[in-house]
Amino acid sequence: MQPIIEFKDVSFSYPNAEQPALKNLSLQIQKGDWVAVIGHNGSGKSTFAKLINYLLIPTSGSITVDGIPVDQEHVYDIRDLVGMVFQNPDNQFVGATVADDVAFGLENRQVPREKMLEIVPDALERVQMNAYAAREPARLSGGQKQRVAIASVLAVEPKVLILDEATSMLDPKGRREMIALVHELKQELGAELTVLSITHDIDEAASADEVVILNDGELMGVDKPEVIFSDAERLRRLGLAVPFAEQLKAKLKARGIKVPETYQTTEGMAEWIWQLHSKM
């Protein structure tokens, strides 16, 4: 099957930078996957995302989205295919009302008004924000703003949704709601929507199908979340969050306790302690 996103030997350097932000990155993302990209600040995660929809241009190498080359000639096709939601919910509003904002992308694509009247409520319905269609975006909570931003992207029916640290400015509730929303969208749209989420949030990354680790512009690994998160040593070395159960294991080990060597979920770890205690 043709990958939805393919990077072939891509490098990118910012002007005047001593080090390239991405070095010889080759990577394929399969259609319909939910892929989390993790890495410390400055690892090249956002650069990676911005290259996909031609906000940045590779210094060398090539990128395709759904088989279409990402270049000057195809930039508008690419941007129809790839929708992006950024970190700061306050930076992405243009409309006076929530509905206007969702319509903005459609206006740019000269969608007839009658069509827009169907698409906009549909998109808002998907993110459960239709009750807010006539509201001013500025008066919404952070989580609501991000949901509207997702609706604006969905209205254009992209094949790839990129979330560039889209939950990092939300409170814990807003964050959980947003992860739940992506789950629902994935269930509803299935293989029609590929999600790429760039994140520091371990719960968000753990819900993905695949996790990509970037470090100093280089690809360090691509695997299932349970494999990536079981290597606590590597996560620590790369300055990344370590799952709670693994943190606890390390603390117990430091106190001379013999701990299970395989990967443990939080529940698994609790079960282990309970059993040890009941044997005494």
Partner: protein, 287 residues
């Protein structure tokens, strides 16, 4: 510097048709040199309280005392300017406020604005930059060529250089990677000791509350609904969940094992939890 809120209320655009009440009957006391965490879900009134504390708004009702000064609805705005000098405010994403040509000039701007001479400001700025662990080689660089984490440190140094007695931090670690977050929190804890500051931390991250705070204020629906030590606050996780707040992961885990019948006592961080578990399963096991 101690802070007291007594029956404080605040309404945005009071006396107009757009009047929006935001705080009701807020009462609390922040002891001198304490590390106080302020928690509450979005829209609970935390930020409005901070605006009052920083003298950006005057209370509609009640009385605020900061050190020996008192603020009420009748206080002249001009008096507030003098008080603001004692309060260092680190807003969310403070790196957005950087503007100068060099790192050193940016950090010197605040103290000079409050009347320090250029020479004094330079000494204060260099001391502040050293405290946030910025290397001397960066002083003449443009702040815009730094990494995000470094830019944030420079912005924080700009606040510290004004030598405030109270430091207010609004979600200071948002957007940083886990290692960067831990570094920054350790830096604040160290800063509090070195400069003997009163620190007020507004955060959603309960791990940091459990780890660093000695005093917690819980905001809900425009008022303070609970105050206490982290141990007291996190003792009732059901109540916190009703307020849309979390407990630290260590406390959650401890509660879960306690519900299964193990004698644990709601540890606040991983070290406490690990110690309790070791006690429970009988110390080091060597097989």
């Amino acid at each position: 510097m101690a802070i007291t809120f007594k029956n404080v209320g605040f309404t945005y655009q009071a006396g107009t048709p757009f009047a929006t009440p935001a705080l009701y009957d807020v009462n609390f006391n922040i002891p001198d040199h304490s590390f106080t965490a302020v928690i509450g879900h979005t829209g609970s009134g935390k930020s409005t309280m901070v605006q009052l504390l920083d003298g950006l708004e005057l209370p509609t009702d009640g009385e605020i005392t900061i050190g020996s000064a008192t603020i009420t609805a009748a206080t002249k705005r001009k008096t507030l300017n003098g008080m603001r000098h004692d309060i260092g405010m680190v807003f969310q994403f403070p790196e957005a406020q950087l503007f100068e040509q060099t790192v050193l000039a940016d950090v010197m701007f605040g103290p000079m604005n409050y009347g320090m001479s250029k020479a004094e400001a330079e000494i204060a700025a260099k001391a502040a930059l050293a405290l946030v662990q910025m290397p001397e080689s960066s002083y003449e660089a443009s702040p815009f060529d730094l990494s995000g984490g470094q830019m944030r440190r420079v912005a924080i140094a700009g606040v510290i250089a004004m030598e405030p007695e109270i430091l207010i931090l609004d979600e200071p670690t948002a957007g940083l990677d886990p290692a960067g977050q831990a570094d920054l929190m350790a830096l604040f804890a160290n800063l509090q000791k070195e400069r003997d500051l009163t620190v007020i931390l507004i955060t959603h991250q309960m791990e940091f509350v459990g780890q660093y705070a000695d005093n917690v204020l819980v905001f809900d629906a425009g008022s303070v609904v609970k105050t206490g030590t982290p141990a007291e606050i996190f003792a009732d996780s059901d109540w916190l969940r009703q307020k849309q707040l979390d407990v630290p992961a260590a406390t959650q885990f401890s509660d879960y094992l306690e519900a299964k019948g193990l004698p644990l006592h709601g540890a606040l961080d991983l070290d406490q939890l690990a110690d309790e578990i070791v006690g429970l399963i009988g110390g080091p096991t060597h097989e």
